[in-house]
C-alpha cells in the first residue's frame, strides 16, 4: 500500500492537485517543537480525516442528537465557543468551564483545563460522557454508528473489519482533531522569514514585551509552556479546584492549564470560566487584579511584595497589537476544516 502510494504520488504531475488532496496539518511547521502526537502514530490519510470530520460535526454523538463537537467548537473562533462564557450541553445545560480553542492539539501532552485527558485519542470521551455536555455513552455512540450504512461503509473501507469499535471511532476522530494546525499567522510568516511577515514597530515592541513579561508561561511558538498555574483569579477554589480535581494534591488547587495565545483575539471570553470578555480586561487583571491565595504562581509575586505584572497603558496597547499578529485567517477559513454543506 505504502509503496503503491509513493508510486502514484511520483506519477502525479500537478503539484496543486496534490496540495489540494493533502490532509490539513500533515506537515509539521518548522517553527514548532516536537509534537506529542507524532504523525506516525496515526498517519494522516484523506479518507480517515474526512471520516473524523464527519464525526466531529455529527450531533448524533450526543444523547439528544442535537449537540456535536462542532456545536461548542466553532471554526471561525479557532474552535472555541463564540460569546459563551461556559460550555452549553444537552437540554441547555451549562458546564462549569469555558470551551477551549482547539488548535495545535498534536503538540499537547495533556488536554482540558485540568489536564485530565492524557491522549488526544481518548480526550473526546470526556465531553461525550459528561452529563452537562453530550451526555452519551460510548456504547450508544457505537450502536448509532453501526446502525448507519454510510458510517459502516466508510469505517470498513479504512479499518477492514466490522463492527465499528471504540478504537476505530477514536482513531478516526483524532485524525480530524490532530489536523487542526494553526501555524500561518503573520507572526509565523515573520519568524519563518516568509512573505507577508512584516511586523510594525508597536507589534515588534509587543513581541519583545511578551517575551519579557509573559514567559515562561506563554513560551515557544505554541505560546504555552503546557504547565498548570494559579494566575490569581480567586482567593479560594471551592467552585472549581482545577488541576487538583485530577491530582488530588492540595498544592494543585486553583491551577489551570496555561492556554495558547494563538488566535487569542478570536477566542473570547477568556479564562477557564470565561469571566473576562475582552483582552483588555485580561491585561488589566495581570496589571492590578491578581488575588492572593496559597497556590498563587510565584511569578505573580513581585520582590516588593506586590502582585501581578505591571503594564503601562502603552505596553498594554503594544501587547494587544502583537497578539493580533497571532491570528491565522487561513486556519479560521480553511474550508477543509468546516462542516460539509
Amino acid at each position: 500500500m505504502g509503496l503503491a502510494g509513493l508510486l502514484v504520488a511520483g506519477c502525479q504531475p500537478d503539484a496543486d492537485i496534490l496540495k489540494q488532496q493533502a490532509v490539513p496539518g500533515d506537515t509539521l511547521p518548522s517553527n514548532f517543537p516536537t509534537p506529542a502526537y507524532a504523525l506516525e502514530t496515526n498517519p494522516p490519510d484523506r479518507a480517515t480525516f474526512e471520516l473524523g470530520r464527519t464525526l466531529f460535526y455529527d450531533p448524533r454523538l450526543s444523547r439528544t442528537g442535537d449537540v456535536s463537537c462542532g456545536s461548542c467548537h466553532q471554526q471561525f473562533v479557532a474552535f472555541a465557543h463564540a460569546d459563551h462564557r461556559v460550555s452549553h450541553g444537552v437540554d441547555g445545560l451549562l458546564g462549569p468551564r469555558n470551551a477551549p480553542a482547539l488548535q495545535n492539539l498534536r503538540w499537547r501532552r495533556e488536554l482540558l483545563w485540568d489536564g485530565g485527558a492524557k491522549n488526544l485519542e481518548t480526550m473526546p470521551l470526556a465531553p461525550l460522557t459528561n452529563p452537562v455536555e453530550m451526555d452519551e455513552t460510548l456504547d450508544n455512540v457505537l450502536k448509532k454508528l453501526n446502525a448507519d450504512a454510510d458510517y459502516q461503509r466508510r469505517f470498513a473501507k479504512i479499518y477492514g473489519k466490522s463492527p465499528i469499535d471504540s478504537y476505530q471511532f477514536l482513531r478516526a476522530l483524532a485524525q480530524f482533531t490532530a489536523a487542526l494546525t494553526s501555524a500561518n499567522s503573520r507572526y509565523d510568516h515573520h519568524v519563518r522569514g516568509e512573505a507577508g511577515g512584516q511586523l510594525s514597530e508597536p507589534e515588534l515592541h509587543g513581541r519583545a514585551l511578551l517575551a519579557q513579561k509573559c514567559t515562561p508561561c506563554h513560551s515557544t511558538d505554541l505560546f504555552t509552556d503546557e504547565t498548570y498555574r494559579n494566575n490569581g483569579l480567586d482567593r479560594e477554589f471551592s467552585a472549581d479546584s482545577g488541576r487538583a480535581h485530577i491530582t488530588n494534591v492540595t498544592q494543585d488547587r486553583g491551577l489551570f492549564k496555561v492556554p495558547s495565545l494563538r488566535n487569542v483575539t478570536k477566542t473570547a471570553p477568556y479564562m477557564h470560566d470565561g469571566r473576562f470578555a475582552t483582552l483588555a480586561e485580561v491585561l488589566a487583571h495581570y496589571d492590578h487584579g491578581v488575588q492572593v491565595s496559597p497556590t498563587l504562581d510565584p511569578l505573580l509575586r513581585r520582590p516588593n511584595g506586590q502582585l501581578g505584572i505591571p503594564l503601562t497603558a502603552q505596553e498594554q496597547a503594544d501587547l494587544l497589537a502583537f497578539l493580533e499578529t497571532l491570528t491565522d485567517t487561513e486556519f479560521l477559513q480553511d474550508r477543509r476544516l468546516a462542516e460539509r454543506q
Binding site: 492524557k118 481518548t122 470521551l125 470526556a126 491530582t247
Partner: protein, 260 residues
C-alpha cells in the same frame, strides 16, 4: 509440536537466513514452546464468590454485605524459571470479570518450555498503556473499565451492598481503583511462588495453574476497611491506594497446579 504450515515456513526461512554459514543448529534455534492455562478462582473467605445472591461477613467489622461486581486487570505477566531467568509475556493484558466465566480462564500460548518456580503480574495497567490512546481487546476503553474525565484504566472494581444493621443503614459501596502517577500510583505487582513443585511447561503437555482471588482480603488487609464508614473509591487518591494496598498484600494465592 504443532505449527501451522505458514508459521513453519516463515520460521524455516528465518532460520536459513540467520544461520547461513554457521553450523547446523536448526534444532536448537527452534523455539521450544508450550501452553499454560491459568484459572482464576474467586472466593470470599472460604466460600465461592456468587454475585448478588450470597451474604458475606466483613471480618473487620462483622458487617454483612453482598458483592455485585468483581473485575480486575491482570497484565505484564512474568514467569520465573528455576535457572534464575524470567519470561516476560508480550502484549500481556487480561480483563477478568466474575460476571464472565470465560474471562476467568487465561490461556497463555508460546511459553518457552522450562521449569517455572513462580509467576508475577501487575494488578492493573502499566502507565504507558494508560496514556497510549485508543486500544483494542482487554484494553478497549468501552469495557466499562476506563475513566473518561481523568483518563486512565480502572484497575479493579468491587461493588456491592452493605446490609442494614441496628447501628447503620443499608448502602451500596463502590471501590474503583486506578491511578498511575505519584503520589497516588495504584499500580501493584503481585508475585507468587509455586509452593510445592515447579510448574513444568513442555511442548507436549499443558499444565493448569489455579490462582485464588479472595475478595475478603480487599477488606481484611494491612489497611482494614469498614464498609459502613469507607467513603468508597472512584478516582485516583488515598482511598484507591488503601484498596490497592490491601489486594496487593494477599488477595491472590496459588491454589494448586495440574501438571497434565
Amino acid at each position: 509440536m504443532k505449527f501451522s504450515l505458514p508459521t513453519f515456513w516463515v520460521a524455516a526461512v528465518a532460520i536459513l537466513f540467520s544461520l547461513a554459514g554457521c553450523d547446523d543448529k536448526e534444532k536448537d534455534a527452534q523455539p521450544a514452546v508450550g501452553t499454560l492455562d491459568v484459572e482464576m478462582e474467586h472466593v470470599v473467605g472460604n466460600r465461592a464468590l456468587a454475585l448478588n445472591t450470597t451474604t458475606y461477613t466483613n471480618p473487620v467489622s462483622n458487617e454483612q454485605f453482598t458483592i455485585s461486581r468483581f473485575n480486575y486487570y491482570v497484565s505484564n505477566v512474568k514467569l520465573q524459571k528455576a535457572d534464575g531467568t524470567e519470561y516476560a509475556q508480550p502484549e500481556s493484558y487480561y480483563l477478568v470479570q466474575e460476571s464472565d466465566a470465560e474471562s476467568k480462564h487465561l490461556h497463555f500460548k508460546d511459553i518457552p518450555t522450562g521449569d517455572y518456580t513462580g509467576i508475577s503480574f501487575v494488578v492493573g495497567v502499566d502507565s504507558a498503556r494508560n496514556t497510549a490512546g485508543a486500544q483494542t481487546g482487554a484494553l478497549d476503553v468501552n469495557n466499562n473499565m476506563f475513566w473518561s474525565w481523568n483518563t486512565g484504566y480502572i484497575f479493579f472494581k468491587m461493588e456491592g451492598n452493605l446490609l442494614a444493621s441496628s447501628s447503620y443503614p443499608a448502602k451500596t459501596f463502590l471501590m474503583h481503583v486506578g491511578g498511575f502517577t505519584k503520589p497516588y500510583n495504584a499500580v501493584r505487582t503481585v508475585k507468587l511462588t509455586f509452593p510445592s513443585s515447579n510448574l513444568l511447561v513442555r511442548a507436549d503437555h499443558s499444565p493448569e495453574l489455579h490462582l485464588k482471588a479472595d475478595a475478603l482480603k480487599v477488606l481484611n488487609g494491612p489497611q482494614p476497611i469498614q464498609l459502613g464508614t469507607f467513603m468508597g473509591a472512584h478516582m485516583p487518591g488515598s482511598n484507591a491506594m488503601q484498596v490497592a494496598n490491601n489486594y496487593a498484600a494477599g488477595m491472590f494465592s496459588v491454589e494448586h497446579i495440574h501438571a497434565n
